[in-house]
Subunit: 123 residues, 2 copies
DNA sequence: ACAACAAATCAACCAATGTTGAAATAAAAC
DNA sequence: GTTTTATTTCAACATTGGTTGATTTGTTGT
């Protein structure tokens, strides 16, 4: 994974509006949302939203598809998971037991992050 | 989890130097590294590194501990995992099978992200 | 063709961030 | 106690990002 991709992605996620947009679309999943609906839901002026959608799309965190006069945006779940992998790779130099007691579980799904097993948590 | 914490964290990870520092310390685990060693390893001028270490620490992605005249920095693995949980929560509105075919595996450890099971991957 | 609508671009302004060398602080070694 | 070493703070500069209203592009329905 290219470092510039990662930097662009995190840069995109460091704005409150863009973070809200991305999480909203992660929640929506494959269905996605059209630009106007996002603007209404998050109460952001369309011009400003367009600016942030462009940034997110250029960072590849979103995809766009034209639907008539609407633009449908979807979260790039694959890139999101790549980012997670990039951050956590080589964690504790391959001795994961060292950070096992600092665990926190992702809510994405059990398919992605399973519940912590009893041997991994502190009493 | 507070949104400002998340924004600060991603803002911190959107600089090439800070991203390198954080990943280096994730790799080092509980051992951590002192500031000078980080500067040498990444070939960053001490003044500049200090600026970035301060940003990462204020964002709570790093912890500092004084050791004589050295400052030892460690990655806050717990916050990193909270960020992952924040990004992925409510993924596909609780229908994770919708994004299962977009999976990518984290390298952090099997304890954190297990290998993809055969039923979760596309042929 | 034309009016109505969705969304993006433009230009202007304001605010925040990254980098560097020199100076300051603070602990260790002599 | 003076010198050396580790790190941070400061001041200056250059660069980049965010917001807004007006304008433009492109699509649908009449």
């Amino acid at each position: 994974m290219k470092k510039n991709t990662v930097i662009s992605a995190f840069e995109s996620l460091s704005s409150g509006i863009r973070l809200d947009v991305f999480r909203l679309l992660v929640k929506k999943g494959p269905e996605g949302m059209v630009a106007g609906a996002i603007a209404t839901t998050l109460d952001v002026p369309p011009t400003n939203l367009s600016f942030h959608l462009k940034a997110l799309t250029q960072a590849r965190l979103l995809t766009v598809e034209q639907e008539g006069r609407f633009q449908r945006y979807r979260a790039n779940i694959s890139l999101m998971l790549d980012l997670i992998a990039y951050l956590t790779e080589e964690c504790c130099s391959g001795h994961p037991e060292q950070c096992a007691d600092m665990r926190a579980a992702s809510k994405c799904s059990d398919a992605v992050l399973p519940p912590i097993s009893p041997t991994q948590v502190k009493p």
